[in-house]
């Protein structure tokens, strides 16, 4: 946060009375600001990218439905239909290591079965109400954006570490930002626009930072934890299990079924397993399940059940090949550690309170993205005020900040139109091209041009999706997202129109 108060309205600021926050020594504030600036600048681009991609990732399920709007839209299915879908998948993928079955939920009203074939190719089949496979899901852009946020498209261990480290840097910036902002309450409602660029950015930076603080703390801490899990568990295993991380993870796996690759007399009946779950957990709803080693004697199912009113990914129950419940992991009934672990992902992504929480997370995430952008803008404006402007960096930062909406929109458009899309390549090239625009014009000009192009691309995405899917849009979320994209395009266009200056 920047500690810049606005002095253009001294009477009003003075009228607010003495701050109730204890007075912090000026030297301490200055030292904290120096640390805050150094850290913010070092990680600005990464924090910006992770925050922007995270805001979009809140709607991962919705984007998956938007890319595959033909459905079938299901609100509930019978256990027998789930079993039929699994058996049908096993005729297409004959010896999978495991199958992931996603059951219909309010966020994801589909029945899908995912597995790897013998050649390592991944397939996700979509089933209808009776469990008949009606097609293969194709959601390349949704997968692209989710992976960009979680691992930046790097190898999983490295990507997770970089994202986790970015979360730590963000958390550190929050701590130093709060400590270097002694007027946190006094300026809580001061939001002024226009005039000095630095003061305008400081107001935006500080207001969004202060009022969004609970959200910022929650997402940075949970994000850092989720990203650093691999390294934390690795060191723990080194200290306690001679480096065997599997033993550390096994503490969170619940009952185990011995691996036995000999052929089973019959393939596991998933319907019977779900019936057993319904009888044991009448108030919970199965959300997804893994069928492990189907067709082998060691086959079993790991079923996730969610209970209304809990901030949790759900309880995990293990069922053997005969349909007997072996036990649960304890994510909802176990110790504090299990319950905290189970809350991490929904708390990080906003997947726990229906669409109002998702929209709030999306807006607060964009707010945090704006805070990051304004932090660098404040530093650049401060340099300019001191007579040491950095015009190249000013143009480059503006270009980078607006490159992401543009690259996201362009990659979505190519994904819609291409039969073999590579969204990450398109996103990378679009980001580079947008950043290259920093070579031309002023920061304001670059910003305006990139916003106009983004608005145009978003409108094109909406039109292309509508035209391609209009005849098969069974899921209303398809139209909903198209409308939201069009509204965003209009809003962006409005920001590029000439403004009336205040008289």
């Amino acid at each position: 946060m920047d500690a810049s108060p606005d002095k253009t309205t001294p009477a009003k600021t003075k009228a607010a009375g003495k701050p109730i926050w204890p007075k912090i020594p000026a030297d301490f504030v200055r030292a904290m600001l120096a640390g805050h600036s150094a850290l913010g600048l070092a990680f600005a681009a990464l924090i910006y990218l992770v925050c922007f991609s995270g805001s979009v990732a809140v709607f991962t399920q919705e984007f998956g439905r938007w890319e595959q709007p033909q459905g079938p839209v299901l609100h509930a299915v019978s256990p027998q239909a789930v079993d039929a879908a699994v058996q049908a998948t096993l005729t297409k993928i004959t010896k999978p290591h495991d199958l992931l079955v996603r059951l219909p939920t309010p966020d994801h009203p589909r029945l899908t079965v995912h597995g790897d074939d013998a050649d390592g190719g991944e397939h996700t089949y979509v089933a209808d109400q009776a469990g008949r496979l009606v097609g293969e899901a194709r959601t390349p852009w949704t997968e692209f954006q989710a992976e960009l946020h979680t691992v930046l498209h790097l190898p999983r261990a490295w990507g997770g570490f970089v994202v986790g480290l970015t979360g730590v840097a963000l958390l550190s910036s929050l701590i130093s930002g709060v400590l270097s902002h002694p007027r946190v309450f006094k300026d809580a409602f001061a939001f002024r626009w226009g005039g000095s660029k630095r003061l305008q950015e400081a107001d935006l930076h500080n207001r969004v930072s202060v009022w969004g603080l609970p959200f910022h703390l929650a997402v940075s801490l949970t994000g850092a934890f989720l990203g650093l899990t691999t390294i934390i568990v690795g060191v723990l295993a080194l200290a306690t299990f001679k480096g065997d991380t599997a033993k550390a993870y096994a503490l969170f796996r619940g009952p185990t079924v011995a691996d036995d690759p000999r052929p089973a007399a019959k393939i596991i009946n998933v319907g019977a397993a779900l019936d057993a779950i319904a009888a044991r957990y009448p108030d919970a709803r199965p959300t997804y399940l893994y069928v492990e080693h189907p067709g082998e004697r060691g086959q079993h199912a790991i079923i996730n059940v969610a209970t209304e009113g809990r901030l949790s990914r759900g309880e995990t129950v293990v069922v053997d090949g005969e349909g007997r419940i072996l036990g649960e992991v304890g994510y909802e009934s176990g110790s504090l550690g299990f319950r905290v672990l189970s809350a991490m992902t929904p708390l990080h992504f906003g997947w726990f309170g229906g669409w109002p929480v998702k929209i709030a997370y999306f807006l607060l995430g964009l707010g945090l993205t704006a805070v990051t952008a304004s932090g660098v803008a404040i530093w650049l404006a401060r340099r300019r005020d001191k007579g040491r402007p950095a015009p190249r960096w000013e143009r480059l930062w503006v270009a980078f900040a607006w490159s992401q909406p543009l690259a996201y929109a362009f990659s979505a458009l190519v994904s819609l139109l291409s039969s073999t899309p590579a969204p990450v390549v398109v996103w990378g090239l679009a980001t580079l091209a947008a950043c290259a625009s920093a070579a031309f014009g002023t920061p304001a000009g670059v910003s305006k041009a990139l916003r106009q192009i983004t608005a145009g691309l978003l409108a094109l995405v909406c039109v292309a999706h509508g035209v391609l899917q209009a005849s098969a849009m069974a899921d209303p979320i398809g139209w909903g997202i198209d409308a939201a994209l069009l509204a965003t395009a209009l809003l962006l266009t409005l920001t590029t129109l000439p403004k009336r200056s205040p008289s």
């Binding site: 934390i232 723990l236 200290a239 504090l336």
Partner: protein, 187 residues
């Protein structure tokens, strides 16, 4: 149902922010009552969410939805500044001006990154291995304090001008905690 309650309770933090804004706008005999009323409404929204949405889910949802509603309220009260009118003397604190010495920069980076990370990992590991309680709880809580302590160490080392002091403290913490964890060596 969660969506309904999240929306139904959103006016409470919004009303709390309105009262706090009125208190902020200027001094007056009502000011303490406005502050008390504002904070009471914010707390009431969180408290009411517990029976309606769950003990953890309710407050989490209200903090997210309430923060958004208040930010919209603050943004709605945006005040236009005259671009041509020059701001009076800038009194904002400036970051402390440090001498630019390359080795100090590299050392500071090493302290804030790897060393603070190792010290934080050591603390987390010590909690996971040496603290009392159930194994999984120790592991998760130990894991959760790693990013928090790393972030705190980062903020401290990047702002403290006495970097050798920071180096000594972080190295000491890392040695002690990792030593204790590896010496015990079992969960």
């Amino acid at each position: 149902m969660s969506a309904f309650w999240a929306l139904a309770l959103a006016p409470l933090p919004l009303a709390g922010a309105v009262l706090l804004k009125r208190a902020w706008d200027g001094p007056g005999p009502q000011r303490p009552w406005l502050i008390l009323g504002g904070w009471s409404l914010l707390i009431l929204a969180i408290a009411a969410s517990v029976p309606l949405m769950g003990p953890v889910r309710g407050p989490s949802a209200i903090l997210a939805v309430g923060s958004t509603a208040v930010l919209v309220f603050v943004a709605a009260g945006v005040e236009r500044r005259n671009a041509r009118k020059k701001a009076v003397r800038e009194l904002a604190p400036e970051p402390s001006d440090r001498r630019r010495v390359a080795w100090r920069g590299w050392l500071r980076g090493f302290l804030a990154g790897p060393l603070a990370g190792v010290a934080a990992l050591g603390c987390g590991l010590a909690v996971a291995i040496c603290a009392p309680g159930q194994i999984q709880s120790r592991m998760v809580i130990g894991g959760l304090i790693v990013p928090f302590l790393w972030a705190g160490g980062m903020a401290w080392t990047l702002s403290d001008d006495k970097i050798l002091r920071a180096f000594a403290v972080l190295a000491g913490v890392a040695t002690l905690t990792l030593g204790a964890a590896f010496l015990k060596g079992a969960l």
